[in-house]
């Protein structure tokens, strides 16, 4: 199976939100009842029913301004913290397409992934007691199609293709517009990349993480404590077995005759 990358070229986004609606359409997600947010950004945040959101940032830039519209959805990490943190096998899986997908059948609603994700992507529904997020349209890309958001994008901002090709394209485009590829980080790779124009600093944008990394607590827990606890659990089981062999089965005590009274 080919590994894919979705490239978001912020020099080409016009904030039309076709991606946001296409996502709801393909994934059959209901509309939220939204209020006036004081901005065009609506719903105000990602949610169990909103997996893709255009975020609007007005940034003063000397006498002028940058109005940044950013497609925000799952980054599909190469070593996903959510998968690492998830205790329920099969509930969150990184597939060989690069897509990190969730399966509600196995989700136990523990919210470990929501705490672990460096991009704050998975969202929990108290009503459903499960999480949900962008799947990179795993059901489409394994059928030879592009994700719904990419298909809907009219301006060429969202593109999608095999990993090597898209990495080369991203580097070339970043050079052309004198911008950077984010998060093109050898220590933290993702299957979703942005072209950030030179005028935009990632740190100025809402809901971004300039230095994404696997949370250390997860590493400590999963790589160190968890093995120890497994050893601990094994030791407890072993000791019980030993006890059985040495002392034999635990027999019920003779009931004490407590019947009193004359």
């Amino acid at each position: 199976m080919t590994e894919y990358i979705k490239l978001i070229d912020l020099t080409k986004c016009t904030g039309c939100r076709a991606c946001q609606v296409a996502c709801k359409n393909w994934n059959d997600l209901p509309a939220e009842s939204t209020g006036f947010t004081g901005s065009l950004q609506n719903p105000a945040d990602l949610s169990y029913n909103t997996w893709c959101l255009i975020r609007f940032d007005e940034i003063q830039n000397g006498s002028g301004m940058n109005w940044v519209m950013r497609h925000d959805a799952c980054m599909h990490c190469e070593w996903p913290a959510c998968v690492k943190a998830c205790p329920s096998p099969g509930a969150l899986v990184r597939t060989d397409t690069g897509a990190v997908v969730h399966d509600p059948n196995f989700c136990i609603g523990c919210k470990a992934c929501t705490a672990a994700c460096p991009f704050d992507i998975p969202r929990y529904s108290a009503e459903q007691e499960k999480i949900a997020k962008c799947t990179l349209c795993y059901d489409r890309i394994t059928d030879g199609r592009k994700p719904a958001c990419v298909t809907a994008c009219p301006t060429g901002c969202l593109t999608f293709g095999p990993k090597a090709e898209m990495l080369a394209k991203a580097d070339a485009r970043a050079a052309e517009v004198q911008g950077v590829v984010y998060p093109r980080n050898p220590k933290y790779q993702t299957n979703v990349l942005y072209i950030m124009p030179k005028a935009i600093d990632v740190a100025q944008l809402q809901h971004t993480n300039p230095n994404p990394k696997m949370p250390t607590t997860i590493l400590w827990w999963k790589n160190l404590f968890k093995p120890f606890t497994l050893i601990g659990m094994g030791a407890v089981a072993g000791a019980a077995m030993l006890h059985y062999m040495v002392r034999g089965p635990h027999e019920p005590h003779e009931p004490e005759n407590k019947e009193g009274g004359e």
């Binding site: 016009t14 946001q20 006036f36 004081g38 719903p43 007005e58 109005w67 940044v68 009219p154």
Partner: protein, 822 residues
């Protein structure tokens, strides 16, 4: 559009002015971005407000609403003063060299007006050329004669110097200078620039002249007829081009033929009045064929009558009387119109002074609304509209219509491509397609006339209406759109021999050049002649091969006229037939085969044989246009509602605009009409009560009057509330915080409407004539029906009509804003 959406990719500079294309024409940005990526094109955006288009532009500048001509006039002046014109193009292809009548006087001489003004009309006798004995204009190709168009133009725009322009628009001279320099750099023959505009240009008191200013600029730079050039009106609806082509307007018949007037009592007079004459052998003077088009149209409508006879069947409109949108409102309010069909239209939200519209609807005896959902118009009598249903006597019929996927037919897009659309699914419930509804009306009205008779029944009884196909349900007369397409193209009604070829009766007419004036052909719209052949409906073609690589796609659908993808393309080559731009030629002359290659050329013959602008009488692009009713050169005037004097002349507004505030004065009419037509004019004491400029616009997420989008949950979620955008400075002055509810009032609606405040630095105050002026902007998508609802912005807009087209002013008017204290 003179060009096409996909032709934007060939532009070197793109200017979006009077449009928010990124939001309202998102697909256009595919080609804007292609031009930028592939050609290194630069994008300019000029707008009162920093929009999603501005956010992606390379250069952005501001202007106050209603000052477009000042901005563009400044650019014309910059081009003329700095020699930034394409000289060969200007001399050979425009009327720059024409000598104008020496008695012509312009705003320079007459302080803001043109010669011939009497009352509120111009007598255009002096707006004429000096003609030779053959009636061809005299020329000075050195462009030195003080009476030549070029010198008059130069004199006219010399007043539009940078300082004056910026004083009027409130823009920044440095930014303007940058933009003027960049845009006029496309005067080089191999470079082209395009202007993308929409309702921000046209829905103004001076909308027609705004577009004229673009034409003048583009002609000076040699940017019309070339790839990546043109003036491109981005139409707001998928088929709005088709609706104008087929005459959904009062003053034209299909194919832009003129609607007959009461003074034209005979067919001969009508045709004589409408056919321009020209004796210049190089002038194609295409409208010289008028009698052929008119006769063919009348034969399409009444197959069995001679055009001389069937001409009598058409209604004639009174000379000088206007029947466009605003007069319809006025006539309803005055009780003169008793019944109304609203077909896919929502005037209760979309028309200017819409509160007056809703009040006027209550005066009707009956109203038929045909739409996908129940619109505000259909529901004007309901409690949600703020009225007492018991007090309204109008009988309302709501006919559910089929959506575009639920019917077969064609649409014509902005770039003039007529494309067939097939039916994907059946309409729900009792919904019917428009063609069926229309056809049923015709049959039933005919039937009633047959049965009961009536005054002047001939036109209806004799009307040719044979679209029902054998095999279809004959009792319902369901018409076949493919038969309609054939009639629009036109066919021979009897055997005709033309230049040695015999055409049999019933054969499709192959091209409009073969339409006949003697009634032997019919054609429902001459512009579409060539779209259906004996073997094929070309609207259905779907071959996306592109042999020239220029994006013409000649075998994809069909484009009027005669599948020409870029009109006036004759101007894209020099006099020897060589393209100005080698890397993006539109047409080129093959000297060996003696033929044109590339796009379908405008007019036949060898290079230089004909003047390129074949649709205008003399064949030259018109820098000077005597056809306009308010002046041959665009001139800046202030909008009717303005806080500042006209800094260019003593003439505050154009003297020939249609002012309803004046029209109702002294007339005995319904007080609601006086209120709804009131205007806060410059110099009146009301001006201090409404100090803020206001404009209206759309967002990506909703469409037009909202009747199709406010019912959709996913779109309602994105923009759920009516809002008004304002600057941080104004908000501070008025103590309004972002998100709070405010009341906006205008002189026409002093109770006002409520909206959420969107406080943003994307709006900034203007300094005009040393005054600080605030401008705000509102969405006009909302109404009281639907899943998401809100106040109707047009309850505040004025009733002012452009002097040429009567298009209403939706973009510049005065309001006041106050915080709502709860």
């Amino acid at each position: 559009m003179t060009n096409h959406w996909n032709d934007i990719q060939h532009a070197d500079v793109i200017m979006i002015l009077g449009s928010n294309a990124a939001e309202n024409h998102p697909i256009s940005f595919k080609y804007v971005n292609l031009a930028r990526e592939k050609r290194g094109a630069k994008l300019i955006n000029v707008d009162p407000r920093f929009t999603r288009t501005s956010a992606t532009a390379d250069k952005y500048a501001r202007l106050r609403s209603g000052t477009d001509i000042a901005f563009v006039g400044g650019m014309i002046n910059y081009a003329l003063q700095n020699g930034r014109i394409q000289k060969d193009y200007v001399v050979n292809y425009t009327n720059a060299a024409f000598l104008v009548n020496p008695d012509f006087k312009g705003p320079v001489d007459l302080d803001g007006v043109y010669s011939g003004l009497s009352g509120d009309k111009y007598d255009k006798a002096t707006w004429s050329y000096q003609l030779d004995e053959n009636g061809v204009p005299e020329k000075d190709t050195t462009l030195q004669d003080p009476n030549c168009v070029f010198q008059l133009l130069k004199k006219h725009y010399a007043r539009y110097d940078m300082e004056t322009v910026c004083k009027i628009t409130g823009g920044d001279s440095k930014e303007y200078e940058d933009i003027y320099d960049l845009y006029t750099s496309t005067c080089r023959p191999e470079k082209s620039a395009t202007i993308m505009y929409a309702m921000g240009t046209t829905q103004h008191t001076y909308g027609s002249q705004n577009v004229r200013a673009f034409s003048v600029l583009q002609l000076l730079l040699g940017n019309i007829g070339v790839a990546g050039g043109g003036i491109n009106a981005l139409r707001g609806e998928s088929n709005v081009k088709g609706s104008t082509d087929h005459a959904a307007l009062f003053h034209i018949l299909p194919g832009y033929l003129q609607a007959p007037k009461a003074s034209q009592q005979t067919y001969q007079k009508y045709v004589d009045d409408s056919t321009p004459k020209n004796s210049d052998p190089k002038s194609v003077n295409w409208w010289g064929n008028y009698p052929k088009y008119a006769a063919s149209l009348l034969k399409a409508w009444w197959r069995d009558a001679d055009p001389e006879k069937s001409y009598d069947y058409i209604g004639k409109y009174d000379d000088g009387v206007n029947y466009s949108t605003i007069p319809i409102i006025e006539q309803m309010a005055s009780g003169k119109i008793n019944g109304l069909f609203c077909w896919g239209q929502n005037p209760a939200v979309g028309c200017p002074s819409s509160r007056l519209v809703r009040r006027a609807l209550a005066k009707l005896d009956w109203l038929v609304a045909i739409d996908l959902w129940e619109t505000e118009t259909a529901a004007f009598w309901q409690p949600e509209a703020g009225v007492d249903p018991a007090a309204i006597k109008t009988e309302v019929f709501l006919l559910p219509a089929a959506a575009s996927m639920e019917k077969e037919g064609s649409i014509s897009n902005s770039g003039r491509w007529a494309q067939w659309r097939w039916k994907a699914t059946e309409p729900p419930g009792d919904a019917r397609d428009d063609l069926y509804i229309m056809s049923e009306l015709v049959h039933r009205v005919k039937h009633l006339y047959e049965k009961e008779g009536g005054a002047f029944s001939e036109p209806i009884l004799k009307l040719s209406w044979d679209y029902a196909k054998a095999g279809m349900d004959s009792s319902s007369h369901h018409p076949d759109p493919r038969e309609v397409a054939k009639e629009i193209n036109g066919f021979f009604l009897k055997d005709v021999e033309i230049k040695g070829t015999v055409y049999k009766a019933g054969q499709m007419v192959p091209s409009f050049a073969l339409l006949q004036a003697d009634g032997s052909t019919c054609s429902g719209n001459w512009l579409y002649c060539n779209s259906v052949t004996d073997t094929e409906n070309r609207l259905m073609r779907r071959d996306n091969s592109d042999p020239t690589g220029l994006g013409f796609y000649h075998n994809w659908a069909w484009c009027w006229p005669v599948n020409r993808r870029i009109i006036y393309n004759r101007a894209s080559v020099d006099l020897s037939g060589k393209p100005w731009a080698k890397d993006k030629p539109v047409i080129w002359w093959d000297g060996l085969k003696k033929t044109w290659l590339g796009d379908v050329p405008d007019g036949g013959g060898a290079p230089g044989a004909v003047h390129p602008f074949i649709m205008v009488n003399h064949g030259y692009g018109q820098l000077f246009s005597p056809g306009m009713t308010d002046g041959p050169f665009p001139e800046h005037y202030e909008p009717l509602e303005s806080q500042v004097p006209n800094l260019l002349s003593k003439q505050q507004e154009s003297p020939v605009i249609t002012r309803y505030d004046k029209a109702v004065q002294g007339k005995v009419c319904d007080p609601m009409l006086v209120e709804g037509a009131a205007a806060c004019v410059f110099g009146s004491p009301d001006k201090d009560r409404f100090p803020i400029y206001c404009t209206t616009y759309r967002v990506t997420e909703h469409w037009q009057a909202g009747q199709m989008t406010r019912w959709l949950p996913w779109l309602g979620e994105l923009v759920p509330h009516m809002f008004v955008e304002m600057s941080e400075e104004l908000a501070k002055e008025k103590q309004i915080r972002n998100g709070e509810v405010v009341r906006i009032t205008s002189i026409r609606n002093q109770e006002g409407i409520l909206a959420h405040a969107m406080v943003t630095s994307r709006f900034r105050p203007f300094t005009v004539n040393d005054q600080t002026l605030h401008q705000v902007g509102m969405l006009w998508h909302f109404g009281y029906k639907g899943r998401v609802t809100g106040a109707i912005a047009n309850d505040l807009t004025p009733l002012v009509g452009d002097a040429n087209t009567m298009i209403p002013e939706y973009k510049a008017f005065l309001v006041n804003i106050e915080k709502v204290r709860r």
